[in-house]
Amino acid sequence: MKPAALLIVLPALLAGCSVAPPGAEINDPYEPFNRQVHAFNKTVDQAVLRPLSRGTASVPGGFTQPVVNFSNNAGLPGAVVNNLLQADIGGAATNTLRFIVNTTVGVLGLADPAGAIGLREVEADFGATLAVWGVPEGAYLELPGFGPSTERDAAGRVVDFVLDPLDRLDWVPREMQEYSFPTKVAEQVIERGALGDTFDEILYESADSYAQARLIYLQNRRFELGETQPAEDYYFDPYEDQ
């Protein structure tokens, strides 16, 4: 897809972000469809992702950490653009510095010397940018292969993928652009391995793994984005109705 095409698709995607009814914490009008995707994702996890991630979990961190570092580093230009779109100048400066240090001293980002001196990534994606711009979260979605999301975050994923500024940085070695996507996939597998037991517990041991995954994703995402409920709703009192 050409970037220009996105300008046409994006407003349509965003217009689709339905506003949750007041008081409802979970807005899931596509639940029947989402549950089918969830069943599909679980099958893929069982057949492919989980066995692979068991493999990576048994490999020493000395081999897997560089892959994770490389993938994180390749994602930094995109984070910087989103920092700027969110008017987070400090975050953009930190991530830029981090990218320069790790790409050079850290050999294409395989090592993370920036992290060692306290330059940690200030995470930013286009879904978060849309949140800062006031776009509502929209309905809950479970995406094939990617898992839990929302209409707003799904739109953000598309934009981040299509408009990755890494591809437009001429001074960056071509290897970084070429291996950005495969290492991103590998990173997912490695992280699935690192969180293996917790992941298994949610997917295979909870009574309703779809509802658990949905609840966990939405709460964690809102926490990340600082989209908390009003205090009197958030701090509900379980002693009240005893």
């Binding site: 037991d197 917790t198 709460q219």
Partner: protein, 199 residues
């Protein structure tokens, strides 16, 4: 909406506001003792982590820590939702017992994520439903993450009644879980108690 229900809503809101007004000026002393409670809990967890025992020994000890510091009856009751009102006192007592063991074991296992890291108490403050104690879990190769404890003396003893890890809330997770378990059993609380005991 009828006049009566509007009036009821209004009265309920008034009562809630009044309760809030009474609850809000939590004494500095309450904040300090809630913080001290979490300090002790964190010290216990860190001591188990530092002991370097085999993982399953650690998990058993984490379960004991959970049992000692958490208000399991309140968490149990909340997890049942509206079904708690239909249960007999005897059923509720047996459910609480079964659920307490299940939840301590589960979160004991979850504390294993702290192995290799350290938990640090950051701050404590009064919030509408008690005291919120904020902690940070720190690991060598990861960004630190937030763990909040909600503490109350509502049970008669100072205990924590909710645990929030990066925004993810234990009470809501357990209510979702228990509702699903009940649905699978056609709403039969007796079967749920039996199955929780067998877990």
């Amino acid at each position: 909406m009828t006049f009566a229900s509007t009036r009821r809503t209004f009265l309920a809101q008034g009562a809630a506001l009044a309760a809030l007004a009474v609850a809000t000026p939590a004494l500095a002393q309450d904040v300090a003792s809630a913080r001290a409670l979490v300090d002790r809990l964190v010290a216990d967890v860190n001591a188990v982590i530092a002991s370097g025992q085999p993982e399953d020994r650690m998990i058993a000890q984490f379960a004991q820590i959970f049992q000692a510091y958490a208000d399991a009856p309140t968490i149990a009751r909340y997890s049942l939702g509206a079904d708690a009102r239909q249960a007999t006192p005897d059923q509720l007592a047996r459910y609480t017992q079964a659920f307490s063991n299940y939840v301590a074991e589960k979160y004991g296992r979850r504390f294993r994520e702290f192995i290799g890291g350290q938990v640090v108490v950051e701050d404590a403050r009064a919030v509408p439903n008690g005291i919120e104690v904020q902690t940070t879990a720190i690991f060598a190769n990861e960004a630190p993450f937030r763990v909040d404890f909600w503490v109350s003396a509502g049970s008669g003893q100072l205990k924590f009644f909710n645990l929030i890890v990066e925004g993810v809330n234990m009470l809501l997770s357990e209510r979702t879980e228990v509702q699903a378990l009940l649905d699978q059993r056609g709403g039969d609380l007796e079967r749920l108690i039996a199955d929780l005991n067998a877990m």
